[in-house]
């Protein structure tokens, strides 16, 4: 096949899969039919585009083709008669200005809010989003989450069945629900991103790049909701984290700490875009949790050397974040930033408060942080004890190696 056609179909798949599925779900109300016919439309494109040429508007061609396939399928199927009337009638008043209460006309937004509905289990929201919006196959999603394919297929079937049977509405939520539900959508995308980010340590090359999918979806969301500053903040956060990807692991597979990373490996273009998006988002009112986290990531990403990091600002940002997100992990991060800005004893004070609260019991980074601060304060015996405590809790080999190295440092001291 001609390379330009192959590229055009691949491009259309990335750009238009979610749009085609979303439109067909609205017109037929049938998620499986929508997916099948979207699939069919892309297969037909592979057959006819080499012969007839690439259509001027591939997305429109695919939507029309998929809708015709749906109509044919429903016509063949006697029970589909009511649905067929719906397909026929909805195609009439389908002008681009057709909007629901929220003032949004893109079907993909309806789809993403439905996929991320809080009445679905979190893993179902993630799987549905990847299948219907991103167009990943069930097998790909199963591999990405390291579960057997039948398990993933079952998860998708159950979720779609609940949407139908419990009548989860296919819409962008009305104004009074929108802030909360938008938060839910952003949470799913961030979870997806982190899943991919954490997985980069594995040597499993067949795993789909979930971080890339998450960033693509976040980018789509910022286009669909241009007035939503937290969506911009999330995309900025992802870009700023992902920019450091190449520097995160050493040749031996060991995690390289931010401080020790080779900053020449950071993706300058991604950092510049992240900072630009963040600046735009910051102008849109009081920052929420994603903008604050992006601002913290930007402090790191724009420091020329580790020593030049603006820790005082990071400490302030973590303080604001802790007020919005009452999480002990955020407070631990704030303690680290305070230690960097004001010295290890100020940080240790905050860590001791956290340790006394018992909220982070069993979390290896609590004793690991204590150990690092004690080491820097020149208290090697106490540091060694804390490193040993952390070693008992740590889960990954890379982190274990790091802690062992530090432990050796403090115990070998004269």
């Amino acid at each position: 096949m001609r390379d330009d056609v192959r590229a055009a179909v691949a491009e259309a798949f990335r750009e238009d899969w979610g749009r085609v599925v979303a439109t067909l779900i609205r017109t037929t109300g049938d998620w499986d039919l929508a997916e099948d016919c979207a699939q069919g439309a892309f297969e037909r494109a592979l057959k006819t585009w080499p012969r007839d040429g690439i259509p001027r508007r591939p997305g429109a061609w695919l939507t029309t083709t998929a809708r015709n396939l749906a109509r044919d399928r429903l016509r063949r199927d006697a029970v589909g008669e009511t649905k067929l009337r719906e397909v026929a009638s909805t195609s009439h008043h389908e002008d681009p200005d057709e909007r629901d209460e929220s003032g949004v006309s893109d079907d993909r937004l309806r789809l993403i809010f439905t996929c991320c509905h809080p009445a679905l289990k979190v893993e179902a929201r993630v799987a549905l989003t990847l299948r219907t919006l991103a167009g990943l196959t069930t097998a790909e999603i199963a591999r990405a989450f390291l579960v057997p394919e039948p398990t993933m297929a079952q998860r998708l079937v159950r979720a779609k069945r609940k949407i139908r049977n419990a009548r989860i509405p296919y819409r962008v939520p009305p104004a009074h629900l929108l802030p909360e539900r938008t938060g839910g959508v952003l949470a799913v995308l961030y979870l997806l991103f982190n899943e991919g980010y954490a997985a980069t340590s594995g040597a499993d090359l067949v795993r789909v790049d979930l971080s890339a999918e998450a960033m693509r979806l976040a980018r789509t969301l910022t286009r669909l909701m241009p007035d939503e500053p937290e969506a911009l903040g999330l995309l900025a956060l992802m870009l700023l984290h992902d920019a450091r990807r190449a520097a995160r692991l050493g040749d031996d597979g060991e995690v390289v700490t931010l401080e020790e990373q080779d900053r020449s490996l950071w993706d300058r273009e991604a950092i510049a875009e992240g900072v630009r998006l963040l600046d735009a988002a910051m102008r849109l009112g009081r920052p929420g949790p994603y903008r604050l986290q992006a601002a913290i990531a930007a402090c790191h990403a724009t420091a020329a050397t580790a020593a030049e990091t603006d820790w005082a600002r990071i400490a302030v940002l973590y303080g604001e974040l802790a007020r919005l997100v009452p999480s002990p992990v955020v407070r631990l991060n704030r303690a680290v930033a305070v230690a960097m800005a004001e010295g290890p004893s100020a940080g240790l004070e905050l860590v001791e408060v956290l340790a006394a609260s018992g909220e982070l019991a069993g979390y290896h980074l609590l004793p690991a942080t204590r150990a690092d601060l004690l080491r820097r304060l020149g208290r090697p015996e106490q540091a060694a004890a804390a490193y040993r405590e952390a070693l008992e809790l740590v889960a990954t080999d890379a982190e274990r190696r790091y802690l062992n190295r530090r432990l050796a440092e403090v115990t070998n001291r004269p």
Binding site: H117, A119, N165, A166, R167, I168, P169, P173, L177
Partner: protein, 113 residues
Amino acid sequence: MRYMLMVCGDESDHEKSPEEMRKDHEGFAWYEEMNRRGVLRGGNRLRPGSDATTVRVRDDEVLLSDGPFAESREQMGGYDLIECADLDEAIEIASRHPIARSGAIEVRPLWET
């Protein structure tokens, strides 16, 4: 679309008589409002699980046991049948149910034929 709200609360609530419950203004307000909205299709409180009898038939033999089929502190203490647009509206109605604050409301769609 019809949904059954299965109202699960602490057993002690089920002991209260209808007169005692009526003094609970919050609960009363919910019923008044939902009646006004026209979403209520019926419902009732249940007497406590200690008054329940569970019936099973095994090998044509009728087996009875004293008490509810699942012994737990949270028991279904009543139900309300509602009819509304979709799950979002059902969730909104359930979240304002007087027992939602102390117990739990299970929202189950009915098989619609």
